[in-house]
Amino acid sequence: MSITPWQLGNVPGPKTALKLTGEVAGKLLKKAKNPLIIVGAEALKVKVGEKLLLDYVIEIAEVAKIPIVATSSTLSAFLERGVEPALSMGAIEITDRLRDPEWSLDGSKPHDIVVYVGITYQLQSQLLSCLKNFAPQIRTLSLDRYYHPNATWSFQNLSEKDWIENLNILMKTLKEEKKKD
């Protein structure tokens, strides 16, 4: 059975996100040449078990050595934790720059995988749609609990328990793969 968008009416067209699992996400991030994580303000409200999603994402970014873009006022939460994001910028502004095939954070090589997490569903869906249609060179991952059809890969709609499990597997995969290095 096909996966339904979290917002049931949010049916974009024939091209919809592939089902993501924690393991696939871990492998993709590990293989990525120049990945990026964009973290939105919902990450300050949503919990992954006992932890804030934000803290979980920081861990992922640290383990996988992926630069973080803090959108909206998440910057302050990062700074409070002593974490310096690579960039603080509106979710719209960073997505706008990613449309340019040449653009990257440090000007070296373009980003091949971009992770979106914690941006309010309707907005994140639209941002993913922008990149799907105007930056086909970029593959996008949504790590939120809810299926985002406009991403390249998205978790399907998961129960909190399953979502946490997938995130844990993602972390485990990153760490394991790291050990192999």
Binding site: Q7, P12, S72, G90, Q122, Q126, S129, C130, K132, F134
Partner: protein, 786 residues
């Protein structure tokens, strides 16, 4: 009515016609009948491409950013075409142009809606008051219709002139919409230019609509101390007959009040309650402040369901399509009065009043269509008087004891939540109610848009929206707030006072909270944003649903913002202009600053005025809950005039933004009109339409988007103080683009001097070579050409 209008001809066609060139003045009709109040500017009554060059200048700096809401096109029988990621439709269109086309269609719908609203009003008012009824906005307003003067080159004097202006708008909308047909326009930039054209036309139509009603219905003519009235679900005295007007066109509501007065029934609230919902409510209170405002669009279904209304009068726009069936459930008769919203009702326009009243009171018809507004007013009042005693038993919310029983059917399938436009956790709330906990339902009240979509999706037929409303019963009963009646235009005298401090930056900005109530997290956010800028002594202007949401919030002192802040267009003033169409006065104020304060020629001089506004008038619109196509065209109209707009996260579904890139120096390079030099002026304003993810981001961005290249040193320092303070408040450090706005050390906010100097050193900042310029995007305004 004698139609006046231009006779179109070209000079070429006059050759050999026997008409000499001297005759032309007479032959072109209304334009020529005007006295020469100002020499005619370059672009009277611009056509689709007249201002294209200006649009392209804007679009070069503020590039269209598309977020398709749908990857398909289904507009013709070649389709559906899958346009995903660069594929082309059978007609050749790609996804970018398709987005531009959809935005154009949205703007055309928005502009048509205001134009048709204006047309209905103007025709009705001409019938009542005659086409020679003068446009008189009082002695403090000389530039009575700045948008009309700017766009058409006409200085309108009578209602008849307004009808003539509308003809131009109507013709242009038809021309522009035609570009959306399959196989017409193909470039996304040209689609955008056409959307900008439609946005501009929309502002013109709004100005016509609002001025027409101000001059005839004697609404406040820019009164800074317009009276306070009430807003809220809890203010209707249901022991009296209650009439509720829904929509945006106040003419039917006015007839109700007039009929009451003529027939000894007193003013609203004396024997009969006259309430309004949506913009028609603003305008009812502008007509008579004893009318009351129920609330924004979110209150529509819930108020009808409360059964409090004995009669519903529908006019036009923002009417929930289920209004008739909802009204039937509580036996409230409905009177539709607009040919644009007949709702399947029988046309009783030509029947005698008594017969219609009988039919409604007896329940023979659940509702009727009456296109004669005077008759509709009489029927509404007489029906309310007769039906109110019969309807008494319907005037209550569902009993709370029943809530649990209803909620027991919930299986927590989640369909309600997954169909809620703002993803409210209704499933959890209903499920909690099943267990006897109603708090979660009651909490949703402040966020719920009142659309009832959840209900139509619930497989167990649970009236979720009603549950939310019933659980919040106490809140509703005490929901009574003060709001200032919409004052209409800004006085010329006020513009003279604030023109200089705005243009030089000493008043840090004019912020307009406008638009609908599709808020991501409740209307409170709009009030909090407004309060932030009022405290900082920005000028805050408001209209429509946003103006109502701002009222439904109390400060620490327990007052509404309208009670705490003056209604003057001055630093720290909270200016409610009125309904949606009154938005024209906000744009009008920006134009008047250019004209009255800076003495820029106004007549048919669009580009120069827009260039002035973009570079000098630190204004920013915030449409936090923008939902409608009207909001799309209003925002786009502001954009063409050089005013940036911020929308909330739901606004991403409009599909298109105009974004600048601060690092793109060339795009923020302008001419110095004094020398002709090309000068980088920093990214001010950085964007033209922007989506903010959160309220905090919107606040910081608002302060930033009020920066203008023309700010004086003192002005820039004041503006940067607010930007830095807010950035630090929400982001906890200095903004990383600060160096782009500091031209010389004198621009640096004193309170942060040390910190900022250190930062500037770190980023290698150097004082600008040319800190003060006379900025313009228009080559023709260069005074000394190099």
């Amino acid at each position: 009515m004698v139609e006046k209008g231009p006779i179109k001809f070209s000079v070429k066609s006059l050759k050999g016609s026997g008409i000499s060139l001297e005759d032309i003045e007479i032959a072109i009709g209304r334009l020529a009948m005007e006295e020469e109040w100002e020499p005619m500017g370059p672009t009277p009554m611009p056509k689709i491409t007249t201002l294209r060059e200006w649009d392209m200048k804007l679009l070069k700096r503020y590039r269209p950013f598309y977020m398709p809401f749908c990857d398909l096109c289904c507009l013709c029988t070649y389709g559906k075409c899958d346009l995903t990621a660069g594929k082309r439709g059978a007609c050749g269109l790609d996804i970018g142009a398709q987005q531009g086309r959809i935005v154009l269609i949205a703007c055309a719908i928005g502009a048509s809606t205001h134009t048709s609203h204006a047309r209905h009003l103007v025709d009705h008012l001409i019938e009542k008051y005659g086409e020679n009824w003068p446009i008189d906005l009082g002695s403090d307003i000389y530039v009575e219709m700045p948008i009309s003067r700017l766009i058409t080159g006409i200085k309108p004097k009578t209602l008849g002139d307004l009808s003539y202006i509308l003809k131009y708008v109507e013709e242009q909308i038809v021309q522009t919409l035609a570009a959306a047909h399959t196989g017409q326009e193909g470039s996304y930039l040209d689609f955008e230019s056409k959307s900008l054209h439609l946005g501009m036309l929309d502002h013109l139509a709004m100005e016509v609509a609002d001025v027409a009603q101000i001059i005839t219905y004697n609404f406040p003519k820019g009164k800074p101390d317009a009276p306070l009235t009430e807003v809220g679900m809890g203010l209707a005295d249901t022991t009296k007959p209650v009439i509720l007007c829904i929509g945006h066109n106040v003419s039917s509501g006015v007839e109700i009040i007039d009929f009451m007065k003529k027939n000894g029934l007193g003013r609203p609230g004396e024997t009969i309650e006259v309430l309004g919902l949506c913009c028609t409510a603003h305008d009812l209170t502008r007509y008579d402040e004893q009318a009351k405002i129920v609330g924004p669009i979110s209150h529509q279904i819930r108020f009808i369901r409360s059964g409090a209304a004995d009669v519903l009068i529908l006019d036009e726009q923002c009417i929930h399509i289920m209004v008739l069936s909802e009204a039937q459930r509580v036996k409230t008769p409905v009177i539709a009065t607009s040919d644009k919203a007949c709702h399947g009702l029988p046309d009783m326009t030509n029947k005698p009043v008594e017969e219609i009243v009988d039919a409604l009171v007896s329940g023979k018809y659940p509702g009727v269509l009456i296109l004669d507004l005077e008759k509709a007013g009489a029927v509404a009042v007489l029906t309310a008087l007769r039906i109110a005693p019969i309807r008494k038993k319907f005037k209550s919310l569902p009993d709370k004891a029943d809530l649990k029983k209803v909620a027991e059917k919930c299986t927590k399938c989640g369909r309600c939540r997954r169909n809620c436009p703002i993803d409210l956790p209704t499933d959890e709330a209903v499920f909690a109610a099943r267990q006897g906990n109603f708090d979660k339902l009651a909490e949703l009240y402040d966020y719920c848009l009142g659309c009832a979509r959840c209900e139509s999706e619930c497989p167990r037929d649970i009236p979720i929206h009603s549950l939310i409303v019933s659980a919040a019963e106490l809140k509703i009963k005490t929901e009574r707030y003060k709001i200032r009646v919409g004052r209409g235009p800004i006085l010329d005298t006020e513009i003279r006072e604030v023109g200089s401090p705005i243009v030089f930056g000493e008043i840090p900005g004019v912020v307009a909270y406008v638009g609908c109530a599709n808020y991501p997290e409740g209307g409170r956010d709009v009030a909090i944003m407004a309060e932030e800028f009022l405290r900082r002594r920005f000028i805050v202007t408001v209209s429509g649903c946003s103006a109502m949401s701002i009222a439904m919030y109390r400060t620490e002192e327990g007052k509404t913002l309208y009670e705490e802040y003056s209604g003057a267009f001055d630093a720290g003033g909270l200016v409610n202009v009125g309904s949606c169409v009154a938005n024209a006065h906000i744009a009008g104020a920006a134009i008047k600053i250019a004209n009255i304060f800076a003495r820029r020629p106004l007549r048919a001089n669009y580009e120069e005025i827009a260039d002035y506004v973009l570079n000098r008038v630190g204004a920013c619109g915030v449409a936090w809950g923008a939902m409608s196509q009207k909001a799309a065209s209003i925002a786009t109209g502001f954009n063409r005039l050089g005013v940036p707009v911020i929308v909330g996260p739901q606004g991403a579904k409009y599909r298109r933004l105009y974004l600048g890139r601060r690092e793109d120096r060339e795009s923020f390079t302008v001419y110095d009109a004094r020398t002709g030099d090309r000068v980088w002026v920093g990214p001010a304003p950085e964007h033209l339409v922007y989506v903010a993810e959160t309220r905090e981001e919107a606040i910081v961005m608002t302060a930033k988007l009020c920066l203008r290249p023309n700010d004086t040193t003192k002005g820039r320092m004041i503006k940067l103080t607010h930007y830095v303070e807010l950035y630090k408040k929400y982001y906890r450090r200095l903004p990383d683009d600060l160096h782009m706005f500091i031209r010389t050390e004198a621009d640096i906010p004193i309170t942060f001097k040390g910190e900022i100097m250190e930062y500037l050193k770190e980023v290698g900042w150097e004082p600008w070579e040319k800190p003060v310029v006379d900025p313009t995007l228009l080559e023709r305004l260069i005074r000394v050409k190099k």
